[in-house]
Symmetry: C2
């Protein structure tokens, strides 16, 4: 049975295994520095569908199908599927799996969804609830832009702090088993709102939540920053990463030496016009599932604190003058 | 440790207790047949706020505050909060709790959220994860109408199959303890889509999901319809209730004698102009927390299968000609 420590931290008693994982992505992500890691890359942003929302569901299906195939299991063997995405009513996920008859726990954690869903799947598996629990999420640049900011055809200018929503998806299959990677513990984050009102500065809105969750996780588990090969935040981008490292520096902690951010890894910011970096549920999901989990499995990385971050940003509330709450959930994934 | 049976059914090994519960509602719900049951009724739909979205968050805070006060616990004692609502980016919940520093698991299950959140809170408590786990949800007529259908000021006509989104909220505090009501088992539902495309006929979109989940729950647990005093669906309304009972009748099962629907209970359909009945996350939440849980606690009701239903309805996808997927989750709540 998992042990609840304090303020959202849950320690696995029999750390569950990640049986398989897969990432799917769009053309631009495929041309980025991690392009060769993905299980599926589409040269066509539509993924063969006639609306961006349906494209996102199709993209998500690719990640799910590859993760199941790599794990050698079928859809009907899934015990519980934990999934969500950025679209209103989380339709990216609901429409992606509506025909496969799988018990479905819909989540909303904005860009933190990969960590939220993986936390839930891992806790369920640690307690023997279900044989194969699946965590799944996605984002699509075109469906996100028109929903959260402006339709693509509007041609709006993007400020330097803006991030580029990744067209990508990640899927993880968790089970009770003895093979790395293991999920050793998680911290479910609390909402932090430092008053950021700029929908083009998500990094700043999320950084305080990442700081709080990582700090809570370290305090509760008694681990230090240097117990990890990598503390990997979701999609803080350049602005949020700077804020996060500064916050730890004030505590006398050098985070920078073990930190990286999925938003800074997915694209080549010199050559690809993504401004402050990548974002979206699919950003941290595809970096985790395409690039990181394989390196943990092989033992190249021993301990990673995967901390996906989400801006719970609503255009409606931003238009009403409200600030943007952030959240972050942390998952300690280990080779040992 | 909870036991996963099959197709989403989870049996509690040490059925957790519902420590406290509360419901808050708007004026119209307060004037309905259950009005006297609610812990808080506002005569003002704005709940003192200047936008409908903020009104909904304030409404939700009333339910949370009353549930905590009745349970004699403080916000800081909450282990995990499972919450969601109908608003885009689930802002009803995120903004309601952003200042209280509670570990937050955001959910999206549309109007099924009370059953989804109560399922999660119960499974966590059954496995000893957290001392007090809280399930929380809400809906508000005005914020929902303008988001899903038309702004109130448009004055659109409502067809007879349309339901009235309740301005209401419910909150349940779950713990490991020995006092009724107990949560004995849950079934996490699968998505069902029978091709309904009418955003004013949510009952028909959700009824097949309710049928599938109730049937799965009964098959997996070996219980029969008449093992329950009440099989309570979320908000099928008149149209969906008729479809649900017909589907069971085809199986030779008389559901009608033990069935009721929160959407048919919340309002007086003779005197209140709600057409096919109530709906919204807050409909089943307030009926459960205001009217049903107290009767289980007192022993008046012995076994209730609370099956909240959700239409995963997106205006964007409906405008694209897509049909509306439904989902339902079942929670067996018992006095014994």
């Amino acid at each position: 049975m998992s042990v609840y420590l304090n303020k959202g931290t849950v320690i696995m008693s029999n750390p569950p295994s990640i049986r398989s994982f897969a990432a799917a992505a769009g053309r631009m992500e495929g041309e980025g520095p991690l392009g060769s890691c993905f299980d599926y890359v589409s040269q066509d942003s539509t993924f063969g569908e006639n609306t961006w929302e349906k494209s996102e569901s199709r993209l998500q299906q690719h990640a799910l199908e590859h993760a199941l195939a790599k794990g050698g299991i079928s859809e009907s063997e899934i015990s519980l599927l934990f999934a969500g995405d950025l679209l209103n009513q989380c339709t990216g996920s609901a429409y992606s799996v509506r025909d496969i008859g799988v018990p479905f726990v819909g989540l909303y954690g904005a860009c933190s969804t990969m960590a939220e869903s993986l936390s839930m799947a891992s806790i369920f598996s640690d307690n023997g609830i279900g044989k194969y629990n699946v965590a799944l999420t996605s984002s699509h640049f075109c469906s996100a832009e028109r929903q959260f900011r402006f339709p693509e055809t509007y041609g709006g200018q993007r400020p330097p702090s803006a991030q580029w929503t990744a067209t990508a998806s990640g899927c993880v299959v968790v089970e009770q088993h003895s093979a790395p990677p293991y999920v050793k513990s998680v911290t479910i984050g609390t909402i932090k709102d430092m008053g950021i009102k700029d929908a083009n500065n998500m990094g700043a809105a999320m950084a305080p939540a990442a700081y709080a969750t990582i700090k809570t996780h370290l305090e509760n588990t008694g681990l230090n920053v240097d117990d990890f090969d990598l503390i990997l935040t979701g999609d803080l981008g350049e602005v949020g990463t700077r804020i996060l490292c500064d916050l730890f520096k004030k505590d006398g902690v050098d985070l920078e030496s073990v930190h990286n951010d999925c938003g800074l890894m997915l694209f080549d910011r010199e050559k690809q016009d993504v401004h402050a970096g990548g974002s979206g549920c699919g950003c941290s999901a595809s970096v985790l599932c395409g690039h990181i989990l394989g390196r943990i499995k092989s033992g190249e990385l021993k301990n990673v604190l995967f901390t996906a971050t989400g801006a719970l940003m609503s255009p409606t509330l931003v238009q009403q003058g409200e600030s943007i709450p952030g959240i972050a959930h942390a998952v300690h994934i280990s080779a040992e």
